[in-house]
């Protein structure tokens, strides 16, 4: 019988890693402080004791070197590395290994390479970590063909999507929002997988569609709850994976409600929100009854002071305002 308990997002990820490592000796974890320390957010806790230093590898601060090591190990087929990049903001020092190497090898080699690697990384503002430790850069990865980009919002999705990502034969960028690690939710004890490319309608509604990612899913659900009191019915769609994107679920929802608000913590220009807005205009233009709204941070670096940062992050007030403007 299925056992379902409430556990945190971080624990759900840990269960997925533990399951994959116990099942497949090719799965190894590497990154900074992932071993004895258990990862700075505790996601790899206990794995070092269980699987040892050979499979849970503490690396020096050499992101290009160890991400590239993951790419090479995956290319040989000898390992399925899960590499941790401590903060998504550090992609700058290893981006070549991600966007020129991992993403393109399969294509350039005529389909003969399988880069079965997961790059787990941490995004998101809200902790006064300032401009170099708070960004949401999923759009940069999604921009480059050849990478799958996963962004769960709940513990349940986190576990199922991480299992699928590790079992996937393509490079997957798995992005975890820091504000979600402590969030609790129902998660089955048994392993299960959620296919990459399937959105989840987190709440059904008929007046407005909100497409939201990661932490913004929770804020959007809060807004939906509030608006219900005023008789406004909001549908919240969580794409869960940015690449592949479940276009059908998004478009079907827009066709139903005729109105779209996209809520995303990425920067506003050339980002995920503008991408979905363009999608709506091109594939559901005739169904749209109002302009598409996007709710994102401003085009500024992430500020440090709590007062400034909370102004920067899309708030429930801003989301609600956007919804009301197009009602």
């Amino acid at each position: 019988m299925a056992v379902v308990r409430e556990i945190t997002f971080a624990q759900a990820l840990n269960e997925a890693l533990d399951y994959e490592m116990s099942k497949d000796p090719k799965v190894v974890v590497m990154g900074e402080d992932v071993g004895v320390y258990g990862g700075i957010y505790g996601v790899t806790a206990g794995l070092y004791d269980k699987y040892g230093p050979e499979r849970v590898i503490d690396t020096p601060i050499a992101e290009s070197g160890f991400v590239g090591t993951g790419v090479g190990a995956a290319a040989t087929g000898l390992l399925r590395p899960v590499v941790e990049l401590m903060f998504i903001d550090f992609l700058g020092v290893t981006f070549d290994q991600i966007y020129n190497q991992a993403a393109k090898m399969r294509y350039m080699f005529g389909g003969k390479a399988k880069i079965s690697m997961v790059l787990r990384t941490v995004c998101g503002a809200g902790f006064s970590a300032a401009a170099q430790h708070s960004q949401s850069l999923h759009a940069i990865f999604a921009h480059v063909p050849g990478l799958k980009v996963v962004m769960p919002s709940t513990p349940y999705d986190a576990k199922g999507l991480l299992i699928s990502s590790i079992e996937d034969d393509d490079p997957v960028i798995f992005i975890e929002h820091k504000a979600l690690y402590a969030v609790k939710g129902e998660v089955p004890e048994e392993p299960y997988s959620i296919p990459l490319g399937e959105a989840d309608v987190k709440r059904e509604g008929k007046d407005v569609t909100i497409v939201a990612t990661a932490a913004m899913v929770h804020k959007s659900l809060e807004v939906a709850e509030n608006l219900e009191k005023d008789g406004i019915s909001v549908e919240v769609v969580d794409p869960r994976t940015i690449v592949p994107l479940d276009v059908d679920t998004i478009i079907n929802s827009i066709k139903k409600t005729g109105k779209l608000v996209v809520v995303d913590e990425g920067y506003p220009r050339c980002g995920f929100a503008t991408d979905v807005a363009a999608l709506a205009v091109n594939k559901a233009f005739d169904s749209l009854k109002a302009p598409v709204k996007i709710v994102t941070p401003p085009a500024t670096p992430v500020p440090f002071s709590p007062v400034l940062e909370s102004e920067w992050i899309p708030s429930t007030e801003k989301i609600e305002k956007a919804v009301r403007e197009i009602l």
Binding site: E54, P60, A62, G65, V71, A75, T76, G110, K148, D170
Partner: protein, 332 residues
């Protein structure tokens, strides 16, 4: 030399000749406009790839560079597939999607040329990690240039291989130029091999024009790696006889300098002289190797020329391993 079998000596000779002939023909085909894009040729550096590869098995891995044809040939890559790739044909190693800078043959452990200087170095470290964790006695060899030895991937890759004690051999092909910048202006040390010390691994410098010297140094490093004793850094001092890429006006070096190297340090000539002097082979045997190789190269060229172009739909194939609906084309 005495302890190396005649068969192995002839293999080395044949491989060096094969690389030379391959590259000279590619230069002609490029000049005729038959090969598009950038090509960086390996003429003059043959002894490095061959001296190292003589110690490798099919199951061993290598990572290569933008100047990668020599590595591919010596590792036993299928030259019909690579020639077709150079032409951009459907039958190419990358189905015409990679070209000269991205030729790979995973079936023989050739993990790929690379358009990014230093980009492949950590891939060899990853291969080494895979080998070690799977309990195999194979090795991985990273080839790269002197220019690449200033890249983060060189430093980070060697350090990782050192702390994890991986079976990786780092082979720096110091051809004394990174495009136009000469080696003495890139770093203040006499030899890239000195950098081994910084990472706690042996660093050895060798005459890269002497295939037997390269063979010996590589043999020791590779055997050490197979025994689980960790990585070695080798610097092979060499010289490229042609421009950085085809079409390079070479304003940064004198004709005399190039001629001096061609006359005095041609790795094939030097090896040939040695083989004849020691009476190991006859001139006829060597001539017949040239004949055989020329035939093989011509067959590869014929194959490439006669191969079909990729079909237009193929632009959408091979991005992901599983078909992913709606990912590749956004119809707006």
């Amino acid at each position: 030399m005495e302890e190396i079998s005649k068969e192995m000596l002839l293999w080395m000779y044949e491989m060096m000749v094969k690389i030379r002939e391959h590259e000279e023909r590619v230069a002609e085909l490029f000049a005729q406009g038959k090969i598009p894009g950038f090509v960086h040729l390996y003429v003059g550096e043959e002894a490095v790839a061959v001296g190292v590869m003589a110690n490798l098995r099919k199951e061993d891995y290598i990572t290569s560079t933008h100047r990668g044809h020599g590595h591919y040939v010596a590792k036993g890559g299928d030259i019909k597939a690579s020639m077709a790739e150079l032409f951009g044909k459907k039958t190419g190693s990358g189905k015409g999607k990679g070209g000269s800078m991205h030729i790979a043959d995973l079936d023989v452990g050739e993990l790929g040329a690379n358009g990014i200087v230093g980009g492949g170095i950590p891939h060899a470290v990853g291969a080494g990690l895979g080998i070690k964790l799977n309990g195999l006695d194979n090795v991985a060899v990273a080839f790269f240039g002197d220019g690449a030895s200033n890249q983060q991937n060189f430093h980070e890759g060697i350090n990782l291989a050192s702390i994890l004690k991986l079976p990786v051999v780092f082979v720096c092909e110091n051809n004394q130029y990174q495009i136009s910048l000469s080696y003495d202006k890139q770093q203040t040390i006499k030899s890239v091999a000195e950098r081994g010390k910084a990472y706690g691994i042996p660093g050895v410098s060798v005459d890269g024009q002497d295939v037997l010297a390269v063979y010996e140094v590589a043999k020791e490093a590779i055997e050490r790696a197979r025994r689980g004793e960790g990585p070695t850094l080798i610097e092979a001092k060499t010289y490229r006889f042609r421009g950085h890429f085809e079409g390079d006006p070479q304003v940064y070096r004198s004709k005399e300098e190039v001629e001096w190297w061609k006359k005095n340090k041609d790795p094939i000539k030097l090896f040939e002289e040695k083989l004849l002097e020691k009476g190991i082979v006859t001139k006829e045997e060597l001539d017949s190797i040239w004949e055989k190789v020329k035939k093989e190269i011509e067959e590869a060229i014929k194959f490439a020329e006669e191969s079909p172009w990729p079909s237009k739909e193929e632009v959408l194939e091979d991005v992901f391993s599983t078909p992913t609906k709606g990912v590749l084309v956004w119809q707006w």
